[in-house]
């Protein structure tokens, strides 16, 4: 049986590899708080969203979560569930943002929305599945502040990335 490999498949594979590289790089950084991560892999998701559309971005984000969990050895662990729920939440919000905003948003806006949705989705699932205690929400403002800062920075990086990509 043979699969036909399209140009888009190859593009998704390359971009996913890039996202994975960033993900693994980020694992090397110490984290002061659980959940406190820059989320560099989302730079690739946002850049792909702007350059190639939502479907490509969704493929990259979900493949990155899957392959990243295999690399980190967390497949099907609670951490994987959180990672996946964050990715799904941010993809949903990005899909909504793309269809509603009609190019009014730039990478910065998308990245910001994605980061906040990612964090919100994760905390929601963490509350429902793992820590059903309202004390968890005490962390929400701090983590959301971090998401805002990292979302902005990632958006700025994604913007310079798309400018290079689209110039080619």
């Amino acid at each position: 049986m043979e699969f036909e490999v399209t140009r888009e498949d190859i593009r998704i594979a390359w971009l996913t590899a890039l996202a994975l590289g960033l993900y693994v790089l980020e694992m090397a950084f110490p984290s002061p708080l659980p959940g406190f991560k820059p989320g560099l892999a989302n730079i690739v998701t946002v850049a792909a969203l702007v350059c190639f559309g939502w479907a490509t971005a969704a493929w990259i984000a979900l493949l990155r979560v899957l392959a990243g969990s295999l690399l980190a050895g967390t497949f099907l662990s609670p951490g994987f569930a959180l990672s996946l729920s964050g990715a799904l939440a941010s993809l949903m919000v990005l899909g909504l943002a793309v269809s509603v905003s009609r190019k009014a948003l730039s990478e910065v806006g998308y990245s910001l929305l994605a980061a906040l949705a990612h964090m919100g989705g994760q905390i929601g699932v963490a509350y429902c599945l793992f820590i059903p205690h309202t004390g968890l929400f005490k962390l929400l403002p701090v983590l959301m502040s971090a998401a805002l800062v990292f979302g902005l920075l990632n958006g700025i990086i994604a913007r310079s990335m798309t400018q290079v990509l689209l110039a080619k």
Binding site: P78, V108, P132, H133, K138, P141, G155
Partner: protein, 119 residues
Amino acid sequence: MTTADKVILVLALALIAALYAHFWAPAPMAESARVSSAGKPDLWLALGADRAVVIEGVLGPTDLEIRDGRIRFRRAPCLAKLCIHSGWLASDGDFAACLPNGVAVQVVGKGMGFDAINF
């Protein structure tokens, strides 16, 4: 940054400010405390009125004090006095126990669930 980006940023800042205001507000005062004593049915104490309560534990009488919507162990016949050192129990879910004496106090607000689930 486009105008829409700025709108998103302002909305995000407002959301975060609202989160701080909502989740970091002082916890509401607890309404009652559940006192368990070995071999006896649970005793529910309202925290509205200041008073002292004496509970008969395994080792002997144990004094609880209720003041300003809080409760604490004031005197207990145990050795380590860990229950007394736990201090005031004020917010929903706070817990202290005098194990040798078989007496436990938990402050209860609206809902009770698990503290955490670990894997």
